[in-house]
Chain length 441, copies 2
């Protein structure tokens, strides 16, 4: 025996996780799982269907669309002759799935996926290398009307309602800014302009205007762009702020789309949206409606999710035109932020409702009682571990198990048991079937 | 525009998945998800708590325990300076978790994990490189009494009951065979003997006996081992078949444990277990109780899961003695087998219960009706896509959506709508609130 321990001691490896990889305690995992279940419930109630794409994809497939920046973050490796990657989002696998299965799908195709994605970015507060995302997308065949955008936006309100939090969904349409940029002849530097506007919140109006001038825009143009970026409010405020600002067709189309979208949102009962023209979304595949979701009163958390309209989901895999609109919630980040800030409801102390504790030779009887209680849907567990009775009572207390039944030989012989409320100390007597009835109430 | 298409055409990559990686259709994914929910429900009702260990682990951690065979199958790669692996089961991450978090856990620690594992084995029917496993383990601190083994076995019966299938759980105790092997002086070739017995079902009694003799056993010893491997039945049959066969202490202990286990199983109401001495389980860390689960009447499917008792969960990461017992269901394989053999219930044809179809300029009204129905928990969807009314009716039919509401201007003006049963053609009229009441019934 001592020799075996000796062998083990030389072998012991310090147990540790990879940095940036999260692993919740069971109590928190229960909270997290319940959030997943609520979001899944919202997606399903809204007639979205699940896809569970593999975590690994061929690199040729996964990297067809991605730019340089994301590449460094991707977990890519070779096994045998196969060059593969861990997925970094659900959109590319969705595009691959729709292109592969086009003939068997119904359009508009409404799918959701909840699961883990992988990005090997530098680990930092709130940024994980393995993180849960909850995505819902609607894909059209050839075209997809605007009610789809309204539906995706409504999912945010429903999800946050289900989670018990108040959200604000900030909405824009990329065509409005693109139209103005075209109007002032800035198409060549459109991406730089959008990148700057995306920072309006962070660096402020003055800095954005200066940077725009540095890009070569006139003072007037820089002013115009910055003012548009600052437009924020309900649909009437936004329309009146932008009215007559420019005659570019794309601009006008964007504005019309925003008005139409608002009518659909109102019809769907969405109340937590506002319009904010500085909402850009980083991805350069968004082409129309864009949106981000924030926790009400906590804009400092940043966006907890976002999405928008894209013209073409799967142009790398099919010649078919598949426009889509999608929404995403970054659940790992959301959970971490809410947890850090004490916003989550208190976790359940114990999953065990009743601890059945044997006193003397009553283990078999305890197991029988456990069976009866489990059959009745009560979370009962037997303290069968080799510890003293006193230690078991102490442990039940420490684990904050709400009820205990002590099963001694006397109880077994009389069939009369006592259910002890561990907080009040109160004891209720009766047969097990009586105690079960008590629980049912 | 034509130029853009030209660019895309040159870029198109044939969309495809990695071989051995499964991706279900949405209809099947709904069935699969419902099986996961049922198994999760069983684990939770039995007071197991969830852990969601990362898919990636440090290679040093993950490979500490594994033998040569599994290594080739592992997805292992380097990113930066970090040598990492995708997990191939939940046991090693559990060991790492328990060793890391020993001080904050309550023992016996009952945890479950449901998720994907990765093994790069040659893809073949029913073998996936990415596959779901559903694991539940009970870990003791220093020791763990036998009721834990009974609890894990009972989970199989509960899981299969929840899934709506009948199972048979075949149980043995490794000490019985180890004791007999020690008794005949075969310790040096114990692993070879066990490997042969594991094949008893496949290659038959005669072949096993011949191979045992080739290993150097006498005819008598080979006979004895083979006969023990053939012992199968209820606890009384097994005890009487093995009674007096050998006086080795390990053998006697194994037999006593089997009898004790049976008493616990009976107390817990388990009825679907039998004893089969040829159940070995490949993993060489099992040290006592071992078991496998089969679909009743389909032993040709092979074991759909298995598990057993191990002396020491985490000896590579801690000096603490952490004995455990665990059960596992290979859900991807089970689902594939059941699906292939027509054993799954028919999938729901459509997640949409009511398709609301606009006729004329009534889209906004349709969205309002959808909101009312969603609020009432009815899975309603609006056919807002740009298609003719006729095409939408045809599509609702093709998708087997059970009900349709056609919303024309007349219906909107009168507030009187017709709910059409698409199968019977029957129409029921009324206000939307009436139609909702109809659904509630």
């Amino acid at each position: 025996m001592s020799k075996e321990i000796g062998v083990n001691m030389t072998k012991i490896i310090q147990p540790r996780k990879l940095p940036g990889f999260n692993e919740l305690s069971p109590a928190k995992q229960i909270q997290f799982d319940s959030m997943i279940a609520k979001i899944k419930g919202v997606f399903e109630a809204s007639c979205f269907v699940p896809i569970d794409s593999p975590v690994l994809e061929l690199s040729e497939i996964l990297l067809a669309k991605s730019g340089g920046e994301i590449d460094k973050e991707i977990y890519r490796f070779t096994k045998g002759d196969t060059d593969m990657c861990m997925r970094y989002d659900f959109t590319v696998p969705l595009a691959r799935h729709v292109a592969m299965n086009f003939d068997t799908l119904s359009f508009p195709f409404k799918r959701y996926q909840i699961g883990k994605n992988y990005r090997g970015e530098r680990p930092q507060k709130g940024r994980f290398r393995e993180f849960y995302q909850c995505d819902a997308d609607i894909i059209g065949n050839e075209d997809l009307p605007l009610p789809a955008d309204a539906e995706c936006i409504s999912l945010y309100e429903k999800c946050f309602d289900a989670l018990g939090f108040d959200c604000i969904i900030e909405v824009s349409n990329r065509k409005i800014l693109s139209g103005i940029i075209a109007d002032i002849g800035g198409e060549q530097i459109q991406n730089q302009i959008l990148t700057l506007l995306d920072k309006l919140d962070k660096i402020g109006k003055e800095n954005v205007r200066c940077e725009l001038v540095k890009l070569g825009l006139s003072e007037d143009c820089a002013n115009k762009i910055t003012s548009v970026g600052e437009v924020k409010g309900d649909i009437h405020e936004v329309v009146s702020a932008l009215d007559g600002l420019c005659q570019n067709e794309l601009f006008l189309q964007g504005l019309r789309e925003l008005e139409e979208l608002d009518a659909y949102l109102v019809a769907l009962g969405v109340t937590k949206h506002i319009y904010n023209l500085s909402i850009i979304r980083g991805h350069n595949y968004y082409t129309g409606t864009v949106f981000e979701v924030y926790l009400k009163g906590h804009r400092e958390f940043g966006a907890l999710g976002g999405g928008g309209r894209y013209d073409d989901l799967a142009s790398y895999y099919t010649e078919r035109k598949l426009p889509g609109v999608g929404m995403s919630i970054g659940l790992s980040r959301l959970f971490d932020l809410f947890d850090e800030n004490g916003l989550l409801p208190a976790p359940k102390k114990s999953v065990v409702e009743v601890n059945i504790i044997p006193l003397g030779e009553t283990l078999i009887d305890c197991l029988k009682i456990k069976k009866q209680m489990l059959d009745a849907g009560i979370h009962a567990d037997v303290a069968y571990e080799n510890r003293s009775f006193k230690a078991k009572m102490k442990e039940a207390n420490r684990r904050e198990i709400p009820y205990v039944i002590v099963v001694g030989e006397n109880e077994v012989n009389t069939g009369n048991f006592k259910l002890k409320n561990m907080q009040s100390g109160e004891e209720t007597g009766g047969e097990i079937s009586d105690i079960i009835k008590l629980f049912k109430k």
